[in-house]
Amino acid sequence: MAKVLGISAHYHDAAAALLVDGELVVAIQQERLSRIKNDPGLPLDAADACLAYAGVRGEALDAVVFYERPFDKLERVMVNLMRNLPRTWRQFPRAMASQLGDKIWVLDQLAEAFGQPRANVRCFAHHQCHAASAHFVSRFEDSAVLVVDGVGEHSSTTLWHGQGAQLRALCSIEFPHSLGLLYAALTAWLGFAVNEGEYKVMGLAAWGRPGHAGLRERFERLIRLHDDGSYELGLDYFAHMSDAELGFGPKLEALLGPRRPPGLAWALEGERDQHYADVAATLQQVIEDALLGLARKAKALTGSPNLCLAGGVALNSLANARLAREGGFEAVFVQPAAGDAGGALGAAILAALELGDPRPTPMLSAALGLPVDIERAWAVARELELPVRRVDDPASAAAELIAADKIVAHVRGRFEWGPRALGQRSILASAAARETRERINRLIKQREPFRPFAPAVLEPRIGEYFDGQANDMTPFMTTVLPARADRSDALGAVTHEDGSSRVQTVSPAGAPELHELLVALERGGHAPLVLNTSLNGPGEPIVASSEDALGFFLRHAVDAMMIEDLVIERPA
């Protein structure tokens, strides 16, 4: 019976997760507290908040676990710097400073921060943590686990076999061959920020023609897919061995054309931007084909009926949907924090299992963060002279606002784990009208025109609006389903260019407050369906505290905000 704190940090998206007696009690990404998007810094605030939430003192922890082996990582970085002499001369001083100045001391820093003897601070391999964060919180007794990201210590792709409380490594593909780094290079080439713009690339893909004008053949020089499921990058086209920032070299620009200038407005009707969309679409297709090959290999090695995915690439909901359709598995599961934040969870589980705790029960909800302090919200809202009032039935109040075509900021329950807002910190609105989407974009999000908004639907009603069933991924929005063409009346604001929707199915266990709201909508004679987008301004982390929420309300023209049973309506 142990109390175990898992930590991920230093690359991107730092996080902390706390397990008590084998159960996940609380998990928080550092960015939600520091308010710095994808904050990679050592997540001491997030860890302290986890401990405070659970009422556990740092000294009372049985283990603190890091999601990576610092010295293995150092070795890979050093070997790579040396191998790529003299191209790495620019990177060398910076890499050495960050490795030797900070990163290799992380275990000592953690021991000191939580008052732990150094022996209680341990670490597991990066990909092992990813794999653990997927299999052990899935509902599967037996699963094939596929981990695909940029790179951990050495591996960029690994296969595992999860059986009950066991996780066995099968095989790996090593850096510098990496699907994550291929995706990152193309993200940068398209003019988006790496580790942040990947969703934009996926959204853009729907507007392009995969393989148009020989693009697929050109991509074969970038990446070759082998029959055994492995793949190989055309390393000459990339620069991730010598330039951590950009990731692609001049040869790639010669192959695909000049990179798109960052920040330029999009005009998809024009030929130039159509080309960028075609490249995004081809990339999406290649990534999906590569993942299907890896899944085939995983199936052959494990014979398991189930597949778990983890690593940054597993956040590609389009690809996950294709794996679910064509991967040959009965069920596919992707944990909501599939990226590096999830490593904190996996690390904690691995240590808890070693300390004799049972495997955690399946993860049903991503509401693993902190709740808001209602009294504080009330007091600060009053000080801000906002028209705040209390209601008896917040779900009905929110439903009425949405039915009246209001855009509602919805702050109820504990904030989400992972990059998706799942109703606890969401902007909600009617899903029917296309204009709603334009309004949200104009007033708040300022998104590129090609990025979709997602719907949330009452789980039992999913078949009435979408072609498909609820599955292990739909509660967490890690997959997509096709929207039913005959229901376009109800889905105008939430259907993507290619007819898909990144739909969230809502159940009482997954998102109780949003569930009540959808039930109230249905009771009022409306479709049990809302547009659901994250509660944040452009470039900001999703809202966490009541102060963040009120700050958002000051800045962005949503029509109303619900904070638990408080309602603030903007005077017309």
């Binding site: 308010r35 998007k37 070997v79 191998r83 001083p93 593909i173 499921g229 000080e383 452009p538 102060e547």
Partner: protein, 230 residues
């Protein structure tokens, strides 16, 4: 005339000499405003007083707006100057938070913010005069608009500081303390700047000395491809 004012006056022609320079400088302001927004949001969450939380939130909202205004103007100027697309001006405005509220405590945090706002007012006034003399109405009016808010910020932080301190003397002590602390920080930064240069040179030497290792590594640790069994 304070040192701030004298320096600002002296450097005016240099800092604002071209659209490219001006874009750089305004982008720097945008980052500073963004950083101060982060600190104020954090302060709003951590202060025990709902009244002060509300004040910090309003202030943070102003700074967000300022960051956007400076950023927008910086990009306009960058366009005029034809600054390369890779330039920092084109990137999203993203600053780091120093978590000053945590580091300094609320009293010194207020003193720090007050001192910063007062200095910004002094500088902005000098810039406005310069812009007006140069006929750069657009930049002058941008700063004049923002100055209205900065005056409010300087006033309320001073009022809160004196309210929160046990005595007037304690408030003044806090002001002196953060001025000293800031001077010390500037000194450390200058030191670090220098140390970083020295470090770079040293590391490049190490790199040159390590060159033979490069060949060894290529031989001893060849790249792998395809599957590797666990």
């Amino acid at each position: 005339m304070s040192l701030t004012v004298a320096l600002a006056r002296m450097l005016n022609p240099l800092v604002w000499r071209s659209p490219a320079r001006s874009a750089d400088k305004l982008h720097g302001f945008a980052l500073a405003e963004h950083g101060s927004m982060l600190d104020l949001r954090l302060a709003a969450r951590l202060t025990p007083s709902p009244t002060r939380a509300a004040a910090y939130l309003r202030h943070a909202d102003d700074e967000t707006r300022h960051a956007q205004m400076f950023g927008k103007r910086a990009r306009q100027l960058a366009r005029e100057a034809g600054l390369a697309r890779g330039h920092a001006v084109w990137e999203p405005i993203r600053a780091d938070s120093e978590q000053l509220f945590v580091g300094l405590g609320e009293l010194d945090f207020l003193a720090f913010v007050h001192v910063g706002e007062a200095r910004a007012i002094e500088q902005f006034l000098v810039y406005v005069a310069y812009f007006q003399a140069q006929g750069r109405e657009r930049d002058a009016s941008l700063l004049t608009t923002i100055l209205v808010d900065e005056h409010r910020h300087a006033d309320y932080t001073r009022a809160l500081l004196f309210e929160l301190a046990d005595s007037e003397a304690a408030a003044r002590r806090a002001l002196r303390r953060v001025r000293r602390w800031e001077a010390w920080r500037t000194w450390l930064r200058a030191g670090r700047f220098l140390a970083e240069r020295v470090y770079m040179v040293a590391m490049l030497l190490v790199y040159l000395l390590a060159a033979p290792l490069g060949l060894l590594v290529r031989w001893a640790r060849p790249l792998t491809r395809g599957w590797r069994d666990a």
